[in-house]
């Protein structure tokens, strides 16, 4: 579904990704792990068309999307829920959700809105509240809800559990599992290594701008190197 090959990317003269290969198949949850500053968000943002890669190729459902505009990529069904939420603080919760279907999914806007509000009942109570006044957790729900409004075929989630209380983190992982069982492919960037490996089918570890480790999530969860660097034992 998503195939990233020999991707090089960065900012100005700084090369952050130095030849990354990664794939997400239909119906898969793929976890992307790596320490802070490893380049996980850089990868997501290049895949989403926010930045133009230095080299390599990105294909989505067979189509070459390297350097394509974010509009084109969203239209194709590749949607990212970014790190830091990036909701529209001056717009109401409803308007935020509706703009989720600005480029894609507009014909089913009303039905999708209903579906998102069933997933996140707290958002229903706050439809007219401006997004900037939501709590951090509520903003995270809104960001995911907004992403779902675009009828994604592949959803990139960049640290969806960041800043959530333990109970909500649990809920978040439950939700990701449910969305996936409904057929949605997911690329998941997470700091909760144990939980994401328990949920994912496969995983990659990004280190020094390259994929240092990859394989089935179950294998990686047992990997001694990974356990040492991320779990401390």
């Amino acid at each position: 579904m998503l195939e990233v090959a020999a991707l090089r990317a960065g900012y100005g003269p700084i090369e952050v990704l130095r030849g990354v290969d990664l794939a997400v198949g239909p119906g898969e949850i793929v976890a992307l792990l790596g320490s802070n500053g490893a380049g996980k968000s850089t990868l997501n943002n290049n895949v989403s068309g926010l930045y133009r890669p230095f080299g390599g190729s990105i294909r989505f459902e067979g189509e070459e999307i390297t350097g394509a505009s974010s509009m084109h990529i969203v239209k194709a069904g590749l949607v990212q829920v970014p790190e830091g939420r990036r909701v529209f603080p001056n717009l109401s919760v409803r308007d935020n959700l509706e703009l989720g279907s600005y480029r894609r999914g507009k014909p089913h806007r009303a039905a999708n809105l209903e579906r998102v509000l069933e997933i996140f009942p707290r958002l229903r109570e706050r439809l007219t509240q401006s997004a900037g006044t939501l709590s951090g957790g509520e903003q995270q729900m809104l960001a995911i809800g907004r992403g779902l409004m675009g009828e994604p075929r592949l959803l990139i989630l960049d640290e969806p559990s960041l800043g959530l209380s333990p109970l909500l983190v649990e809920e978040m992982f439950g939700l990701i599992g449910r969305l996936n069982r409904q057929g949605l492919a997911i690329l998941l960037v997470e700091q909760n290594v144990v939980q994401s490996l328990a949920l994912a089918h496969r995983a990659y570890v990004l280190e020094n701008g390259r994929i240092a480790l990859s394989g089935s999530a179950a294998d990686l969860a047992r990997d001694p190197d990974l356990r040492r660097s991320y779990l401390g034992h």
Binding site: S48, G49, L50, S69, S70, M71, I73, V74, K75, V79, Q80, P82, R85, R86, V87, F88, P89, N90, L91, D95, E98, L99, G100, Y102, R103, R104, R146, G150
Partner: protein, 290 residues
Amino acid sequence: MFDPAFLFAGILNGLLAGGIYVLVAVGLTLIYGVLHIINFAHGSLLMLAMYAVFYLWRLIGIDPYAALPVVTAGAFGLGFVLYRLLIGRYSHGRDENILLITLGLSIVIDNVALLFFGGDTQTIDVPYAGTFVEIGAAFLPLPKIISFGASLVICAALGVYMARSDMGKAIRAVAKERQGARLVGIDVENVFAVSYGIGIACLGAAACLLMPTYYVTPSSGHAFVLVAFTIVVLGGMGSFAGAAVGGFLIGITESLGGLFLGEQLGQIGISLIFILILLLKPTGLFGSKA
């Protein structure tokens, strides 16, 4: 001296003038809110629109009010194309470059206007110019009342458009969160161009509403935009409500100032209100912190 009827007339006259100020200021504040720059070409483009209205009347005999749809649409097109071909392309994504380009644009337009239109003051004679309407003890010129009503309707329509339409929401989204906007597939560059176009369209409408009672010279746009700029800062940069309230406040201040202090000194009132409000609330009446 403090005849209440006198005061009443002064306030009404100020309100009427404020209507046009609101229109010019709304365009300026919209462009500021989205592009984060003061559009230095605002005054020159208003002047250009006023000449368009003047020549439509002089050459083809079109009444300024009848010209409103055409001039407004034309102004939108001009703003959109200016952004696409010039401002967006040569600013290379940096807000401060946009500022310089609009400043340069203003200088070019002013001088080209002087070359083609000459420095003479031009006015339009409309048959209804001398018609007055009596409200209470005040006699108000009919064209000012029409212009006032029309600018209110236009501002209200724009407000509904910004609140309800997808493009309006996208414009507001881009104003505060460009990255998030890109991630839902909004064409941010296009939103910039549309916003600039709408800002200039407001000037087109304002030009049509001004010309029945006002005159045009190559420098007459700047006086309005200076006042509009005051209004935008006063109301809170980028705030629609602020532009509306500020516009009427300045209109009334100017009118009463003129009444009590005379035409020349009357402008001082604007500066006083301006300084006073910014002292009390530095972000403007409706301004937010960031």
